[in-house]
């Protein structure tokens, strides 16, 4: 046995170690914690908060007190109760919309990546169309003319946020499709469905959650804006955007009425964004940081 053969194995490269993914970071953790609190409080609203419709016309716009930590609104309802219940409205609408939007975006992205050609062109054109009209404009038009109840609002939010998922997932799915391991799988005998099942879906799954969180945050923001413009859910059902709008009239006399729901919007959107950014950092090295780069 020659010297060469004896030493070869040792040379065979550095020790391989399990590569650790970066964590979601402290900001991501803050977002996650905040989100848990917000979702938890919303879920437990019936236990934590009183009746959000209970009026006390005798003491409208009362300042924050021990009994009403965030004061009373313009018809004497407890602002804290309404903010808590408003969380249910906001989350149920925006999470539903985000879920539908992300699933839709995922389906179209996978279709685009797998079939390419005209399927891809068609989907991308539709996305272009969506981008060319700012969602808020589209939403205003549709809601003003079709009416604003749960379903149209969700539809509008879906229209407004599927493109985000589509673009991110399509970009990612296309790079995956261009990876050699996809070709390797083809050579190994995989058809389209096997490719999607075995390689594409697992690889876009983490991104799906990133897109979901970020879609939820944009849906929530949009939903709040619609509520503010009077195109959200109907009163007296508590809605953060609408609460800000009605509180705005009495802003200088009773700042808490508009501020409390406003802060709730900011915190929730922020929580979703931080969490989403954290996930993105972990799985993508920052999806939003390169938004539009592709």
């Amino acid at each position: 046995m020659s010297t060469a053969t004896a030493v070869l194995p040792e040379l065979d490269e550095r020790p391989a170690t399990r590569v650790r993914r970066p964590s979601i970071g402290w900001a991501g953790r803050i977002g996650a914690a905040l989100l848990v609190v917000i979702v938890g409080v919303s879920l437990l609203a019936p236990l934590l908060a009183g009746d959000p419709l209970q009026q006390d016309l005798a003491s409208i716009l009362a300042a924050p007190s021990r009994a009403h930590p965030l004061g009373l609104d313009e018809v004497g309802r407890d602002v804290l109760d309404r903010v808590i219940w408003g969380g249910r409205t906001a989350l149920s609408i925006s999470l539903t919309a985000a879920l539908i939007a992300t699933v839709l975006g995922l389906a179209l992205a996978l279709g685009s990546a797998l079939f390419g050609g005209w399927v891809d062109t068609l989907c991308s054109r539709i996305a272009d169309v969506q981008l060319a009209v700012p969602t808020i404009v589209l939403a205003i038009v549709v809601l003003a003319f079709v009416g604003n109840s749960f379903v149209p609002i969700v539809v509008v939010l879906v229209l407004g946020s599927w493109v985000l998922t589509f673009r991110v997932l399509r970009g990612h799915a296309r790079t995956v499709v261009e990876q050699q391991y996809i070709e390797a799988a083809i050579v190994a005998g995989a058809g389209r469905s096997a490719l999607a099942r075995r390689h594409l879906l697992p690889s876009v799954a983490p991104l799906f959650f990133v897109a979901f969180t970020l879609s939820a945050s944009s849906a929530l923001m949009l939903q709040a804006s619609l509520g503010f413009l009077g195109l959200g859910v109907q009163p007296p059902r508590p809605d953060w955007g609408a609460m800000v709008a009605s509180g705005r009239d009495a802003l200088s006399a009773a700042w808490w009425v508009a501020t409390a729901p406003g802060v709730a919007i900011v915190l929730t959107v922020l929580a979703l964004q931080l969490f989403g950014d954290g996930l993105a950092e972990r799985y993508l090295g920052g999806a939003r940081n390169s938004e539009g780069a592709r």
Partner: protein, 328 residues
């Protein structure tokens, strides 16, 4: 690969001479996809509008007899089948001749176009402000020597990203117009230039976060690029390295995002303009929707969509201008 490109490199010309920066065919292709987007946009709006009621009811005076409604419906063509109306409508779009605005009683295009300069002014001002502030934050976040300086401004921008435009506008008005009385509450009237300040800031805040994030990432990428090392090795001075080799190379990706943010800009303009009563196309479109002024709504959406397409076209051309690699 590199050999292949080398063989197709343009024939020798002295440096400094102008080359056509972007192919006409490329421009035309972009324009065509843009037109498709515009067509899709107005089609959506058309069907949203026509799936609802008969807008003529608005024009009918309260004590008018039912025949009046029928007469006006015929007059405005709302009695025809939707496909016919749609074809007619597309014809209108192509020829630029729309039915009169229900509210203004005149060509909606003229009315909407009158509002464009105000919107452009606001948009341009906030774009400049947003790009400057966003760029500064991104730059600091990527390069500052102190960790707090790298983090704090970017964190503020991140939080600002979570604040809805209407809330920003509301708080700014309360603080700076009502309480401090530094600037007017409204975007026009006695305010003059000062009236622009709050809407400009509000709108700028809507996209500062995105710009700063992307600029930061692009800068970090540019900083890592091999050619920066070359420049340092050459003995180029620090400021020149930063400017010519780092910042200049980070502008391209950022510009792309500005294009995508155009949608945010236009959408934010709608909210901002109506919060501040800024006499632009955004305010006009909301009012047109609220007044159910169908022709005007369509024209507003058309103009906004075209604006988006044009902004992206400009971004496209600019990218090619500053990014020689994109030239063939």
């Amino acid at each position: 690969m590199s050999n292949a490109t080398a063989s197709t490199a343009p024939a020798g010309r002295p440096s400094g001479q102008l080359r056509s920066p972007i192919g006409v065919r490329h421009l035309v292709r972009r324009l065509l996809t843009g037109l498709i987007a515009v067509w899709g946009a107005i089609t959506i709006v058309f069907f949203a509008l026509y799936s609802s009621n008969n807008p003529v009811l608005l024009l009918v005076p309260p004590d008018a007899p039912p025949e009046e409604t029928a007469r006006l419906t015929r007059l405005y063509g709302f009695d025809q089948p939707v496909p016919v109306q749609y074809v007619k409508f597309l014809g209108n779009v192509v020829t630029g001749s729309f039915p009169d605005s229900l509210r203004y009683g005149q060509d909606p295009l003229t009315i909407a176009l009158q509002k464009v300069p105000a919107s452009l002014l606001l948009g341009a001002a906030s774009l400049v402000l947003g790009v400057l502030v966003g760029g500064l934050i991104g730059y600091v976040a990527a390069t500052a020597r102190y960790a707090w300086l790298r983090r704090v401004p970017l964190s503020i921008a991140t939080v600002a990203d979570a604040v809805p435009t209407f809330f920003v506008g509301m708080v700014l008005i309360l603080v700076f117009a009502v309480t401090l009385r530094w600037v007017p509450t409204m975007g026009r009237g006695a305010g003059g230039v000062t009236g622009m300040i709050l809407p400009t800031i509000t709108l700028a805040i809507a996209f500062v976060p995105a710009i700063s994030r992307v600029f930061r990432t692009a800068l970090l990428e540019a900083l890592r690029a091999d050619h920066v090392r070359t420049a340092i090795a050459k003995g180029v001075s620090r400021p020149m390295v930063a400017l010519r080799h780092v910042v200049a190379n980070a502008v391209g990706p950022t510009l792309n995002v500005v294009g995508i943010q155009a949608g945010v800009l236009l959408g934010g303009a709608v909210v901002t303009e109506s919060v501040f009563g800024w006499p632009g196309i955004g305010q006009l479109s909301i009012n047109a929707v609220q007044n159910r002024d169908y022709p005007l709504v369509i024209v507003c959406v058309l103009i906004i969509a075209i604006g988006f397409v044009l902004i992206n076209l400009v971004v496209d051309v600019l990218s090619v201008l500053i990014e020689p690699r994109l030239r063939a």
